[in-house]
C-alpha cells in the first residue's frame, strides 16, 4: 500500500502539473479564466490519476502505468513549448 500511495501521490501530482501546463498553453481563453480552469482541473486530474494508480494489483504495475502517462504528458509539454517558441 505504501509504495502504491507514493506512486499515486507524487505520480498524480507530476501528471496533473504537466497536464495543467499543457491546458494552459492550449486553451485560447483569457488568462484569468485559464488560471481558474488550471487550478480546478489540476486537482481533478491529480485525484483521477490517484484513483487510476490505486486500481492496479501491484505497486510495480502502478508505477509503470504512471511512468508511461507521465512520459507522454511531458512529451506533449515539450512539443507545446517548442511550438510556442517558434511563434
Amino acid at each position: 500500500m505504501w509504495p502504491k500511495s507514493l506512486t499515486a501521490f507524487f505520480g498524480g501530482l507530476l501528471l496533473s502539473v504537466s497536464m495543467m501546463l499543457s491546458l494552459y498553453l492550449l486553451l485560447p481563453i483569457a488568462i484569468d479564466i485559464k488560471l481558474l480552469v488550471g487550478l480546478l482541473a489540476g486537482f481533478s486530474i491529480w485525484v483521477a490519476a490517484m484513483v487510476y494508480y490505486y486500481s492496479f494489483n501491484s505497486a510495480k504495475t502502478s508505477a509503470l502505468a504512471c511512468g508511461k502517462f507521465l512520459l507522454l504528458s511531458v512529451a506533449v509539454n515539450f512539443l507545446l513549448y517548442w511550438y510556442q517558441s517558434l511563434l
Binding site: 500500500m1 501521490f9 484569468d32 487550478l39 485525484v47 483521477a48 486500481s55
Partner: protein, 534 residues
C-alpha cells in the same frame, strides 16, 4: 501495512479486481486520514457559527449600547497610534463593526526591536468600543472561535495548512473511489437502509446512504479545501514554468492588486481618508468589512476598502484610493472583476455557507455532523472486517479503535470543555487564550489515553457523551449566572447570536441524551466494533 493476504488469489474478472483494489485503498486511506478528517469536519461544523460563537464569547463581557453616539473613527485610530509604537512602514488594518460584532478591531504592527528588522514584528490586535473608543481587550484574549477555526484549516500547527491540504486530497480520493465502488448501486440503493439485517449491513448502508446523499456537498468541500490549502503547488508550477519566476505578475493576473509605494516622508492630514470611508459606509447594498491604510499620515498614503456587495451573490468589492487627492486607483466590483479571483470567492462562499441566512448554515452543520458519523462508521466497518479476517496486527487494530473512540469522542468533549473555559475565565486574565488551549488539549489527550485503558468501550462512550452534556449544561448555567442581565439586554438590542449559541448547546444536550438512551437499549450482540473482540 500488509494488504496482500486479503486478495491473495487474483480475481478472474478484471473489473471486479479493479474494484477490489479500489475498495482496499478506500478503506485503508479512509482509516488513516479518519482522525484528522474528523477534526476538520467537526471544527468546520462549529466554525459555521464563527460569528455567533465570537459574539457569545465577547459581547456579554463588554456590552455595547448601540443607541449611543459613536466616536469618530479617525479619533479612535489616531488615539491608538499615539498609544502604541506603530511601525509606519507597515500597513494598518481596521475591521468595521457588524451586526454580529459591535466592536472596531484595529491591527497594528509594532516597531521591531533592533537587530530583528528582517523578522515579522509583534502585531497588536485591539478590540475597541465604538462609543468610547476604549480598548476593551486584546482580540486574541477571546480565542475560542479562532482556535476552532484554525483547528479546521491548520490544526493550530506550523505547516498545518499543507497537512490539511493533503488530507483534503486523500478525502477527495476516498470520495471518488467510493463512487466507483458503489457505482452499480448508486441509484438503485439510493435510500436503502436495511434495518432488519445484521449489524455490518446496517453500518454499511448508513455509510453509503450518508456518503451518497452528501456527495455534492463533500465534493465541494474536498475541492475547496484543496484550493485553499494546496494551491501553492500549482502556484509554484505556474511561477516556474509559465511566469519565469515573476510571482508579482502571476498575482496581478490572478486579480490581486498590490500597492507597494515607498513613503515620501511628507506629512498630510488623513481626514480625507475618513471622508472616503464614511461615503463608502453610506452606500446602499454595501457592507464595508475592513479598511487597510498604507503609509499612514504620509503624502503617499493609500487606503484599501474591502466589503460585500449585498445585492449580488458572492460579490466582494475592493477599492483603492490615494488619500491626498481622493483619486480612485483601482476597483473590483460586479462590473470589474477578475474571473480567477471571483471564482475563488464563489468557492469560499460555498465553503462557508454564508450566502444566505442562518438556515443554510444549520443545513451545512447537519451535513457536516452526518459526515463525522460517516467517518466513524467507516472506521467501525474497517475494525469489524479486520478483526474477523485477522490480517492486521492486534496492535494496529487497537490503535485505530483507540483513535476512533478517544480521538473522535474526545474531540467533542474537548470542544465542550473549551466552551466552558471560555465562559468562566475572567475577561482580564493574563494568558487567557493559553488556558483555553491547554484545557482543550488536556481533555483530548486524556480521552485518548483513557480509551486505551478502559476495556468497556460502550460504557466509556456513554460516559463521554454524558460528560459533554454535563459540561454544556454547566456552560449554559454559567452564562446565566454571570451575565443574565447583559444577555437579556443584548437580545433586546438584536444580538441574537448569544441565545442562538445557547439553543445550539441545548440541542446538543438533548441529542446526546437521546444517543445515550439508544446505546443503553442496544442488545449485547449489537456491541460496538469499538469493543475489543476476545
Amino acid at each position: 501495512m500488509n494488504t496482500q493476504p486479503m486478495y491473495a488469489t487474483t480475481s478472474r474478472n478484471p473489473r471486479s479486481q479493479w474494484v477490489k483494489n479500489l475498495t482496499e485503498s478506500h478503506s485503508w486511506i479512509g482509516v488513516i486520514i479518519s482522525p484528522l478528517l474528523f477534526v476538520i469536519f467537526w471544527a468546520g461544523a462549529v466554525t459555521l457559527f464563527y460569528e455567533e460563537v465570537k459574539q457569545w464569547a465577547i459581547v456579554p463581557q463588554f456590552p455595547v449600547a448601540i443607541e449611543q453616539t459613536k466616536m469618530p473613527l479617525q479619533q479612535i485610530v489616531e488615539d491608538k497610534l499615539a498609544q502604541h509604537d506603530f511601525d509606519y512602514e507597515e500597513h494598518l488594518m481596521v475591521q468595521m463593526p457588524s451586526e454580529h460584532d459591535p466592536y472596531y478591531k484595529v491591527f497594528l504592527d509594532l516597531v521591531r526591536e533592533e537587530g530583528m528588522e528582517d523578522e515579522h514584528g509583534e502585531v497588536v490586535s485591539l478590540l475597541i468600543d465604538p462609543n468610547t473608543g476604549a480598548s476593551v481587550a486584546n482580540r486574541d484574549d477571546f480565542f475560542l472561535g479562532d482556535f476552532i477555526y484554525r483547528l479546521h484549516y491548520d490544526l493550530n500547527l506550523p505547516g498545518g495548512t499543507y497537512l490539511i491540504g493533503i488530507i483534503s486530497l486523500f478525502f477527495f480520493f476516498a470520495l471518488v473511489s467510493g463512487v466507483f465502488i458503489h457505482a452499480k448501486k448508486l441509484f438503485k440503493h439510493f435510500f436503502l437502509y436495511r434495518n432488519d439485517k445484521n449489524r455490518r449491513d446496517q453500518l454499511l448502508d448508513l455509510h453509503n446512504v450518508v456518503g451518497v446523499m452528501t456527495l455534492p456537498f463533500t465534493l465541494m468541500y474536498a475541492l475547496s479545501g484543496l484550493v485553499f490549502n494546496l494551491a501553492i503547488v500549482y502556484q509554484i508550477a505556474f511561477v516556474v514554468f509559465i511566469y519565469q519566476g515573476d510571482q508579482d505578475t502571476l498575482f496581478k493576473d490572478a486579480g490581486f492588486t498590490l500597492f507597494d509605494e515607498p513613503r515620501i516622508e511628507q506629512s498630510i492630514d488623513m481626514s480625507n481618508a475618513y471622508t472616503i470611508i464614511e461615503q463608502a459606509r453610506q452606500q446602499p447594498d454595501f457592507y464595508l468589512r475592513n479598511v487597510i491604510f498604507y503609509n499612514y499620515g504620509d503624502e503617499s498614503a493609500i487606503i484599501q476598502l474591502r466589503g460585500n456587495d449585498l445585492a449580488n451573490f458572492s460579490q466582494k468589492d475592493e477599492f483603492f484610493y490615494r488619500v491626498n487627492t481622493g483619486e480612485l486607483l483601482n476597483k473590483t466590483d460586479i462590473e470589474n472583476y477578475n474571473v480567477f479571483r471571483k471564482g475563488r470567492e464563489i468557492i469560499a462562499t460555498l465553503h462557508f455557507g454564508d450566502f444566505a441566512g442562518v438556515d443554510v448554515r444549520i443545513l451545512y452543520f447537519i451535513l457536516s455532523v452526518a459526515i463525522c458519523a460517516m467517518i466513524v462508521i467507516g472506521n467501525m466497518l474497517w475494525l469489524d472486517k479486520r478483526t474477523l479476517q485477522q490480517n492486521v496486527s492486534p496492535r494496529n487494530i487497537s490503535i485505530v479503535r483507540g483513535l476512533t473512540l478517544g480521538g473522535c469522542g474526545g474531540l467533542i468533549v474537548a470542544t465542550t470543555v473549551a466552551f466552558f473555559v471560555e465562559r468562566v475565565l475572567p475577561a482580564g486574565m493574563q494568558a487567557r487564550a493559553d488556558y483555553l488551549i491547554a484545557s482543550f488539549i488536556l481533555t483530548l489527550a486524556m480521552a485518548i489515553v483513557l480509551s486505551y485503558s478502559i476495556s468497556n468501550k460502550r460504557r466509556y462512550l456513554t460516559q463521554m457523551i454524558m460528560l459533554s452534556c454535563l459540561v454544556l449544561t454547566a456552560t449554559i448555567a454559567a452564562d446565566w449566572y454571570l451575565f443574565a442581565s447583559e444577555i437579556i439586554q443584548l437580545t433586546r438590542q438584536g444580538f441574537y447570536g448569544i441565545v442562538g449559541v445557547e439553543i445550539g448547546m441545548l440541542l446538543m444536550i438533548i441529542s446526546g441524551l437521546y444517543i445515550v438512551r439508544k446505546l443503553s437499549h442496544l442488545p449485547s450482540q449489537q456491541s460496538l466494533s469499538l469493543q475489543p473482540v476476545s
